[in-house]
Amino acid sequence: MNNLDSLPKKKILSLFMTCGFPTLNQSKKVFNEMLSHQPDIIEFGLPFSDPMADGPIIQEANKLALRSKLSTQQSLNLIKELSKSKNNTSFVIMCYLNTVRKFGLNKFIKNIKSIVDGIIIVDLPFEEEDAIKKSLSKNNIHLIKLISPMTDKKRSKKLLKNSKGFIYYISATGITGSNKLDYKEINKNVKSIKKMSSVPVLVGFGIKSKKDVIDISKKTNADGVVIGSALIQKYFDIKMDFNKYLKSLKKFIQEVKI
């Protein structure tokens, strides 16, 4: 069974968080807090030294997580442990290709099989994905596709062929945490994606508040949102007081669950 195959039809909420942030032990509490709200999807970011597509907030989270030399194995163990209280929430890993390559694709899959429903490899373009996609699909793990405003129709068509799970539409040309949302453009592009694919389309990059979530739902045809940097930002907003962080996280997630 793959939880991503039974996502709700509308208002899908996906929450992104970096594994091992701020520390491995605290990270467990953060994810447990997130899980307790039963979001549709949790995205587990595997920290990488050079997160090329991430903005300053997720970069900082990566840096803090790697401070204590968090290993890939520790991150995967954490995900495995959390999966005991997974219920209907889909688990998705978001990472860079070098992490998977160095760990070994087969060993990686062995570690996440029947635990993780999907994987987003940020720097693995369609042109290079064949071998990896095949191995993942054999193990019922969906390779999630990113589409950006720069992806034209012809390319989208190729990318979206046989897509599974959901489609991650990058709402703004930019790194994670960018802030300008152009609803008209988002709507136009989401509509065009939906013509080519039947899986849900989630909008991510730059969703920061309850208002953003409502606007995406009202003003566009998207099926849901991904929130990442905004969840991490809270930690820095309250001056890194961890107990306060958990509380503000709780409040924020309650807000964005519309």
Binding site: V122, L124, L146, G174
Partner: protein, 401 residues
Amino acid sequence: MKTYKQPSTVGRFGEFGGMYVSETLMPLLLDLDKSYKKIQKDKKFKKELNDLFKNYVGRPSSLHYAKNLSKFINGPKVYFKRDELNHTGAHKINNCLGQILLAKKMGKTRIIAETGAGQHGVATATVCALFGFPCYIYMGSKDIERQKPNVFRMKLLGAKIIPVESGSKSLKDAMNEALRDWIKNVRDTFYIIGSTAGPHPYPKMVRDFQSVIGKEAREQILKVEKKLPDYLIACVGGGSNAMGLFYPFLNDKKVKIIGVEAAGRGAKTEETAATMTSGTPGILHGSYSYVLQDNDGQIKEAHSISAGLDYPGVGPEHSYLKDIKRVKYFGITDKEALEAFQTCSKLEGIIPALEPSHALAYLIKAFKNKHKNKVVILNLCGRGDKDLFTAAKAIGFDADE
């Protein structure tokens, strides 16, 4: 022998290279690749570039017989390919002119670049001044400190310098930030990458623009020596000056080719930039190539006294040439490079940059009292003005006195 034909149409040098970037950049790289292929066949483009090479850069750069150094080594006849005489003081300008003409053709209106030693930043700022483009240079704050003369030059040329505080605050981090800028400003921005690194088509494109070095050197040496050289030697950071010299000779099997990396405090230590001696294949900045990384694939911080070689990766074509054994790669320490820096200055009256000082150090070390009657071409790809403060400090000379 099979003629050398790399990379493949998708940017593979053997298994190395490729395009490992997020979907926001993919369409841009494909577009860049298409545009680059088009201008390669464009006679007007070629003419314009050659004109600039001749009248703006001062090409061809001379091939100087380094008599005194040759005598000191008591081995081969050493020739310097003097790209340090170029306008702006290094080989970097060759590539920048090619790329800015391409940017113009593609209708881009804003230029970004990363820089380590500041030579590529200066060259980019220079071509932006010449062609009237706004110019943004990403530079690690550690490099801003050790390459001050170049920082001031870039400012004079009208560029905006954006200090990078992340990671090791040097070249790798500057490139991360430049890539992020590009992802944010995909529509109007052209990213001039300064070395044969990054995703396809950069490694190929930069090599092609730099190969004017090797083409000239080949003609020049055939004229004076009536034969091809026995050895080529160049320093390797990302690998652009080296590829520029090597590429036109790759099919000449008799020409032995040597790339020299920065070993920092030693290739076996943690403070090194000797990517091919100490690294393993991995993915950095959109390309599959040798990198310095740990068991989990986290990229390590590099170390070299030379900011231009202080990079934990290397261009994919070098990784390929290493694996097929066409080029041999060796490491030279900070200390050895500093010594060669002084030897060359005293013997030849040429103050080299710290980058080619690594190539010089290898030459002096490996060829001493050996290889007599052989001919060597060494790429003297940059001059040392930018390094005077760093060198003075390392040698223990008080430059303020």
